[in-house]
Symmetry: C2
Subunit: 189 residues, 2 copies
């Protein structure tokens, strides 16, 4: 969240930012931000604020986003297609290098410059340096595909299906349930 906000400031050629500025932008309190940054090691300048470039570098290092991270996309349906063509992953240094699907109609076709391969040709992801996967298959297939991904050496899964998937401890899953997020709104409205 900080990385996104501060990258935005970088684009505007801002050199320094104060905790108060960030707090206003992110709708947080300024001590919160100073405490967080202090855990990274102190590098703010009293009276001036934090050096934007330094801050971005530090956060990227901590999040291990300094080097390009390869990712595989599973499921070339409506959502999968949108994700495959989404340029926003680039900002965090992600690159979708493989797309897999199970549908014979889709295998062999291309999305952008990437050819859709059969899920049966998943192979060894670890060997290819692909540690992340984006899962955009129907809920019913999510667990089965996750199992295959784990077997192939994937270490992190971004799950777009509205269901829990079970994986070994060494694998990290992050689930986004878009409908659920929308479901939060009526309560407050």
């Amino acid at each position: 969240m900080y990385l996104r906000a501060i990258s935005f400031l970088q684009q505007q050629a801002r050199e320094y930012v104060s905790s108060q500025d960030l707090a206003d932008q992110l709708h947080l309190k300024s001590p919160q931000i100073r405490k967080d940054f202090s855990y990274f090691g102190a590098f703010g300048v009293k009276g001036t604020g934090y050096h934007v470039d330094t801050l971005i570098g530090r956060i990227r290092d901590i999040l291990k986003l300094s080097s390009i991270q390869k990712a595989a996309l599973i499921g070339a349906g409506r959502l999968g297609k949108a994700l495959a063509l989404y340029p926003g992953f680039g900002m965090y240094g992600f690159e979708i290098v493989e797309i897999f699907d199970s549908s014979p109609q889709k295998i062999g076709k291309k999305i952008g410059n990437t050819k859709i391969k059969s899920i049966n040709d998943l192979g060894d992801m670890e060997e290819q340096g692909i540690r992340l996967a984006i899962l955009a298959v129907p809920s019913e297939a999510a667990q089965e595909v996750a199992d295959r991904l784990v077997e192939s050496g994937i270490r992190g899964i971004l799950n777009m299906a509205p269901c829990y998937i079970t994986v070994p401890k060494r694998v990290r899953v992050q689930t986004i349930d878009i409908a659920m997020e929308l479901g939060i709104l009526p309560y407050y409205v």
Copy 2:
């Protein structure tokens, strides 16, 4: 989250569920679940668990998801198209009744059964009983469109653009930044 998990059990014709069962499924501790449900008012049966149908009804009531909620979609791009055709909103009682875009190439075309209208014909959402909007426009346009939505009487916005938008206090915003969620993974991997 509870609603999703328990709806799943309902589909499997499960009649009762214990806090322990749910805890295992959601990777939580069972007292957490009992505490949460106790805030809703006690209605579990000792020795048996919670009645699935009653629980779902209660949670839907609290979240104001008992009646159908109309929603407008803004932005008929790649993501917008996927969202417009996504059946998963139905589970929470949502229905996308209007689609708006600014591109002359898209206005007038249909996605599913819904015609894409011009953003200039937004009109009065409140009058039409539309209180929610899904925002799937480029980041640069997000704030401007949000302002127009607020003006038209929208009360809740699901923002898919990777940026903060500022709205009056009476309006609630929920932002999903898909790339950011993926950005969390490398740290743990």
